[in-house]
Symmetry: C2
Subunit: 319 residues, 2 copies
């Protein structure tokens, strides 16, 4: 009996009941307590903001992903695309005269839509945090540790954090003209080695590094092997990852993989970045990194690093 | 320095930080645990639904209070006006074949706007619950007990629940023509005794009950005094309140006042209804009641009773 047709919900809207709610609330409670214990103070930003806030933080290319509407005064609003934009706004305004670093946590829904509408959820339940005003390598390390500790606190043991660094591929890609760069990024994202090869054969006769580095993925040994004959422009990024690895405990290191070819966050991240995977979930359950350009877009330049986890994805992880 | 002008938020949007967040989260956690212990199962409905869902439940007169926007396919959406509408939809669809009664709890934001935009918040953080499919008087009593127990669990001692019943004024008002009825309700809502008097002098020569009952407010004694010579049409409602009072403990009774003139929910409630007040807060911190007509609007007629508390208002209550 098609009762749903009596009272349906919009495509991609979340209708959570029973066990699905309990599991998410359980994960949310533990995660927020873990972040509070780590010195993070929770923010609850508005559910809708001027769309300008999200575009300023994440770039004009997300415009079509926003769920937008006009306010009574004709101004363009959008449902929260991410928490990071709002946290940056709050840090630049309400906390403008407070001494950094700021440590903020958050939890709630973000709203996104794809052009295809293919049954993709338009609401995601997240928890996350940001450290704003602290650019030290030890803070990058703290964030990696925090992610690993948080996943352990959530009872998830079969997890992997894929760590990359924007200053490995970016300096190489920057040597290409804009159009070729876009095509190369596209080929790297698709893992299309032969496409990349024919592209670079013309554009970058000495393109061997850009042909190999994007496909380097592995543990500490691959960092050392890559560093042995890495082009100078990539050494800072590689050494940063090696320094992170040096500081990890064996237990932590067991969950870390270095992935030099992660290209999607390249417009956003300015250093270390990572994606989190959990056994049983066919997509990343979280992502984060350093975005030292973000706060400047809100008038108070300072470094920033953070991450967000997707509670819906985590709820599906093997335990 | 007008940093806020760099990155403002829309009028009426909530930007919560620090202690304001902690207080709300503390209250929310205790309230949701209290409801879980009382056998309620949490729902997380979508943040936006087809506006039809909210209009069907609460009536066309709330249209202007909705924060509305069009979906990609041109259908009219609205941000969650209340949880009750969504809970009714879920009960009538997802739980259509489950055995009632259903006991659902919820917590999150609702979104409302007034025509004046006078700095009123457009986001409210609520917790609440509904019992669907149980029309017994003992369930009304359970709900009153639950409210009082919840307020005590939240550490609020200086609280008052003002209880009314729709079947006291409604049968009297129904004797008036539509236009006079609207004017009379308006006068009662404004506590305009002389306006009501001149209105009824023409429309209802025998209008003395409608001149006195709306202004009756007090404890058990006023129920008994009113019952002594109440018009027959009002006796059911009055006796229902007296039966509630009979069942309350002295401690519970100390927080209860009967208010026969509460007129605002009259289109919505079909029996017992109440507002919750707390010392130090200049508005109701919560409201609830019985709305046995609601589920029928979603195709599965059955009784329903529930309430919602405003966590922002509760956060300001004296402790």
């Amino acid at each position: 009996m098609p009762r749903r047709s009596i009272a349906p919900i919009p495509p991609g809207a979340l209708d959570l009941t029973g066990e699905a709610v309990q599991r998410r609330r359980h994960l949310q409670r533990i995660a927020m307590q873990h972040l509070a214990d780590a010195g993070f103070s929770e923010l609850i930003p508005p559910t809708f903001e001027y769309e300008e806030i999200f575009l300023r933080a994440a770039g004009r290319e997300i415009t079509e992903s926003l769920i937008r509407f006009l306010d009574l005064d004709g101004k363009a609003l959008a449902l929260r695309y991410d928490f990071t934009s709002s946290v940056a706004r709050v840090a630049a305004t309400t906390f403008a005269s407070a001494e950094p670093p700021h440590r903020f946590s958050y939890s709630g829904k973000v709203f996104r839509q794809g052009p295809e509408r293919g049954g993709q959820p338009r609401e995601l339940l997240q928890v996350g945090c940001e450290v704003i005003g602290d650019g030290r390598l030890t803070t990058d390390l703290d964030i990696i540790r925090l992610v690993l500790g948080l996943l352990a606190a959530l009872g998830l043991t079969e997890v992997q954090v894929n760590i990359g660094h924007s200053e490995i591929l970016r300096p190489l890609l920057d040597q290409l003209d804009l159009e070729t760069r876009a095509s190369a990024r596209n080929a790297i994202d698709r893992r299309d080695v032969s496409g990349l090869q024919s592209l670079l054969a013309q554009a970058m006769p000495d393109g061997s590094d850009l042909l190999t580095l994007p496909f380097v993925i592995g543990r500490r040994a691959i960092l050392d092997a890559t560093l042995a004959d890495a082009p100078p422009a990539t050494r800072n990024g590689l050494q940063h990852l090696a320094a992170i690895d040096d500081a990890l405990t064996p237990d932590e290191r067991a969950h870390v993989v270095y992935d030099l070819g992660e290209i999607r966050g390249l417009d956003y991240y300015t250093g270390l970045h990572f994606e989190v995977f959990a056994d049983g979930v066919g997509r990343a359950v979280g992502a984060g990194g350093r975005y030292d350009d973000l706060m400047g877009r809100f008038g108070t330049p300072m470094p920033a690093v953070g991450f967000a986890l997707d509670l819906g994805a985590l709820a599906g992880a093997a335990r």
